[in-house]
C-alpha cells in the first residue's frame, strides 16, 4: 500500500470515510453525492412549486402595505392602527397558502398535539372536532366582542393624539398603549378562532403514503450505491414508525413545554429497542444514519440565508459572528489541551453545539468531521438537558436582577442552545426580549454553514492528514479533496444559491416565496422527517454500553459546563458593549419599535 495512505482510517459502520482515490463513478456511487442529488431534486421541485404560485396580486399588495407603513411612520411617533393593519396584510401573504402547497403540507403532516390520550395525535373524528369547536365558541364570541371594544378605544385614543398634532407626549403614550391592547386582543381572538374552528383529520393514510414515498425516494440512491434495495424497502417502515412515535411523543403537552424534542425521542426509542429486544436484522439495511442526515443537511442549507445576519445590525453581528467562533475555538482548545479528551470529534461536536446553536450545529459539525454516532448522540443529549434548565433559569435571573430586556434577550439568544427554547425564554420575559433573543439565535443558525465548512476543511487538512507526510501541492490538494466530506458542498451550495435568490427578490418577496414558501411549506417538513429517520437509525444501531463509555471521567460534561460558562460571560459582555456602548441607537429603536 502506498506510504502516503498507510494511516488511512478504514471504512466502519460508525462513520463514513471516502476512499483516497476519486473517480467520475463516485458521482453515482457515493452517499455524499447522493445526498446532494436528492437534496437538489427536492429544492428544485420546491422552487418550481412555490415560485410559480405566488399569492394573487402579491407585488401590488406589498407595495400598497409598504407605502401605508411608510406614510404612517412619518406621520406619527408610534405604530398607528393603519400601520398595524398594513403590516398584518403583508404578513398574510404566504406562498404556502396555495392549494398545491396545502396538499403537500397535508402529506408532510407530523403527529399532532395531545395530552393524556394519544389518539388525537393521529385522528380526530367529525363529532369530536364539532364538540371541541362548540366548547370554544363562547370564548371566541367573547374575544370578538372584546376586539371590537378595544379597537374603538384605540381609534379614539389615536384620534385624540392626532388632534394634538402628535405633540402631546401623554396622548401619544395613551394611543400607543391602546393600540398595543388592540393588537393583543386581536391575537387572543385569532387563537380563540382556531379553537372554535377545529377541523377533523386522519393522518394514517397520509403517513402511509409518506412512508412509501420516502422509501422509494431513498431507494434510488440505495440502488446506485450497490446496497440491498429489497432489504432497505423491507426495513424502512420500521425506522419510519420509530420516527412517527418520536414525533408523537415530542408533541405530548408536557413534553412540548419542556422542549424535549423529536430528536431525543427518536434516539431514546431506538436505544430502547436495540438494547432490549434488539433491532431485528431485517431492519438494519434501512438503518442509514449518514444517508438521511446528509440529505437533510443539504435541505437545511437552503434556509441558511446570509441576508438575515443584518437584521439587527452590526450589534447583532458582533454578538454572534465574533463571540461564537471565539467560544468554539477556545472550548475546543480547552478540551484538547486541558481536559485531554480522547476524541477530537466528540470535542468539536460538543463545542459546536454549545457555542453555536445546539442540535443543528451538532448535526452539521458531526457530519463534517465524521464523528461517531455515539458522539453525536451524547452532544445532542447534553445540549437538550442543559437547554431545558437554562430556558427556566435565565429569564428568572434576568428578571431578578432587573436586567434590561434587550441585553437579556441578546444574552439568552447567544447562549441558550435551541431556537425554540430561546424564543420560550424570551417570551417569559417580554415581547422585546423575545424578538431580540430570536433574532440573535437565527443569526447564529446562519453560521452553521460556515462552521461546517471550516470544521471539514480543518479536519481534512490538519487532523486526518497523514502525520509526517510530505506532499507536493498537487498531491496535497488531491488528498484534501479526497477526504473532504462532499455533502458539505451541497449544504453550502444550497445556502449560497438561496441566499442569492432571496437577496435578488428583496426582503418582502423573499419572505413570501422563500421563508413562507419553499422553506416553511416544503424543506422544513422534509428535513425534519429526514433527521427523525437519522436519529431513529442512531438509536437502533447503538449499544448503550458503547454510549456509556464516552461519559468516562465526566470530561464531556465538564467541557460543556466550562465552555458554556465562558460563553455566558463573553456573550453578556459583548452584548452590553454592542447594545449599550457602541450602538445604543439600536437599543433605543428596539424599545420604541
Amino acid at each position: 500500500m502506498d506510504d502516503k495512505f498507510k494511516n488511512q482510517p478504514t471504512q466502519s459502520d460508525d462513520i463514513v470515510v471516502d476512499k483516497p482515490k476519486s473517480s467520475w463513478s463516485d458521482l453515482w456511487k457515493f452517499e455524499d453525492y447522493w445526498a446532494i442529488w436528492l437534496g437538489i431534486l427536492l429544492l428544485v421541485a420546491g422552487m418550481f412549486i412555490f415560485f410559480n404560485n405566488p399569492p394573487a396580486e402579491m407585488n401590488e399588495k406589498i407595495t400598497k402595505a409598504n407605502a401605508t407603513m411608510q406614510a404612517e411612520a412619518e406621520r406619527a411617533p408610534f405604530k398607528t392602527i393603519a400601520y398595524v393593519e398594513a403590516d398584518e396584510a403583508k404578513g398574510k401573504l404566504k406562498a404556502s397558502d396555495g392549494d398545491l402547497a396545502k396538499t403537500l403540507a397535508n402529506y408532510l403532516s407530523r403527529p399532532k398535539g395531545w395530552d393524556s390520550n394519544p389518539v388525537p395525535s393521529f385522528y380526530l373524528s367529525e363529532a369530536d372536532a364539532a364538540a371541541k369547536s362548540a366548547a370554544e365558541a363562547p370564548k371566541y364570541e367573547a374575544a370578538q366582542e372584546k376586539t371590537i371594544a378595544v379597537r374603538a378605544a384605540a381609534e379614539e385614543a389615536e384620534a385624540a393624539a392626532a388632534a394634538a398634532g402628535f405633540q402631546n407626549t401623554q396622548l401619544n403614550k395613551e394611543a400607543d398603549t391602546a393600540i398595543d391592547a388592540w393588537v393583543a386582543a386581536k391575537a387572543a381572538e385569532s387563537k380563540a378562532k382556531s379553537g372554535a374552528n377545529v377541523k377533523p383529520y386522519n393522518l394514517i393514510p397520509t403517513l402511509i403514503v409518506l412512508c412509501v414515498a420516502f422509501a422509494l425516494f431513498f431507494a434510488i440512491g440505495t440502488r446506485f450505491m450497490g446496497r440491498d434495495v429489497a432489504g432497505f424497502l423491507m426495513g424502512f417502515p420500521f425506522v419510519f414508525l420509530v420516527a412517527i412515535i418520536a414525533y408523537m411523543m415530542s408533541n405530548q403537552g408536557t413534553m412540548k413545554a419542556y422542549g424535549i424534542e423529536y430528536v431525543i425521542w427518536a434516539i431514546g426509542l431506538g436505544l430502547l429497542i436495540s438494547n432490549t429486544v434488539g433491532t431485528p436484522r431485517w431492519v438494519m439495511p434501512a438503518v442509514q444514519t449518514e444517508y438521511y442526515i446528509k440529505t437533510g443537511l443539504v435541505l437545511l442549507g437552503a434556509s441558511i440565508l446570509f441576508s438575515k445576519i443584518l437584521l439587527i445590525g452590526q450589534a447583532g453581528i458582533f454578538v454572534t459572528w465574533v463571540v461564537t467562533p471565539i467560544v468554539l475555538i477556545c472550548t475546543f482548545w480547552f478540551g484538547q489541551k486541558v481536559l485531554k479528551m480522547e476524541s477530537k470529534t466528540l470535542n468539536i461536536t460538543v463545542s459546536a453545539d454549545m457555542s453555536v446553536s445546539g442540535v443543528s450545529a451538532a448535526i452539521a459539525t458531526a457530519a463534517a468531521c465524521r464523528a461517531k454516532k455515539e458522539e453525536l448522540t451524547l452532544a445532542v443529549g447534553i445540549s437538550v438537558a442543559f437547554t431545558a434548565v437554562m430556558m427556566i433559569l435565565m429569564p428568572a435571573f434576568i428578571k431578578s436582577v432587573g436586567m434590561h430586556h434587550v441585553l437579556g434577550g441578546a444574552w439568552m439568544g447567544g447562549t441558550i442552545d435551541s431556537t425554540g427554547a430561546v424564543v420560550a425564554a424570551g417570551a417569559i420575559l417580554s415581547d422585546t426580549a423575545m424578538y431580540v433573543a430570536a433574532t440573535i439565535k437565527m443569526i447564529q443558525n446562519v453560521m452553521i454553514g460556515v462552521i461546517a465548512f471550516g470544521v471539514a476543511a480543518y479536519w481534512c487538512t490538519k487532523v486526518e492528514c497523514t502525520p509526517g507526510a510530505k506532499l507536493g501541492f498537487k498531491d496535497a490538494m488531491y488528498e484534501i479533496w479526497a477526504r473532504f466530506p462532499k455533502f458539505v458542498l451541497g449544504f453550502i451550495g444550497a445556502s449560497v444559491v438561496f441566499s442569492i435568490i432571496y437577496s435578488s427578490m428583496g426582503d418582502d418577496v423573499g419572505k413570501v416565496l422563500v421563508d413562507e414558501g419553499v422553506i416553511k411549506g416544503w424543506t422544513s417538513g422534509l428535513q425534519g422527517w429526514f433527521f427523525a429517520l437519522a436519529f431513529a437509525s442512531i438509536g437502533l444501531a447503538t449499544n448503550f454500553r458503547e454510549l456509556a463509555k464516552y461519559f468516562k471521567g465526566g470530561k464531556v460534561v465538564i467541557l460543556y459546563v466550562c465552555g458554556q460558562s465562558f460563553n455566558l460571560i463573553l456573550t453578556l459582555l459583548m452584548a452590553y458593549l454592542m447594545f449599550f456602548v457602541v450602538f445604543p441607537g439600536v437599543t433605543e429603536k428596539l424599545m420604541g419599535g
Binding site: 413534553m255 412540548k256 430502547l272 424564543v423 417570551a427 415581547d431 419599535g593
Partner: protein, 103 residues
Amino acid sequence: MSVYMRTAGGLQSPPAPKSKPKKWLSLLLGVLLIWGFVFVVAPLIDRVPAIGRAHGIVQDEGIEAGAFWYADVEKVGKAATFMRNVRDFAPSGAGTAGTRTDD
C-alpha cells in the same frame, strides 16, 4: 467456541445472553419508565411555581420549545418582521411616544 473475559478475579465467562422473555420484560420496563416520566415525574416537576409558570407561558403562546431550527419556530418569523420594521419603518413622526417599558 466459548469466549472468556480477563477480569480482576481471573478468567470469567461473559454474561449469558438474555432470554427472549427477559428481553421483552426489559422493553416493557423501559416503556413503563417513559410513561412514568411523561405522566408522573414531569407534571410533578411542573408544580414548582417558577417552572409551572414558565411552561404555562410556553403552552399558552404555542411556542415550539423543542424546535432546534429557526424556520420551525413561528415566532422567529414575527421577530424577523419586527426587526425589519424597526429598520425600515420605524415611526419617527412629529412628537414622541414616550419610552416603551416592559415589566
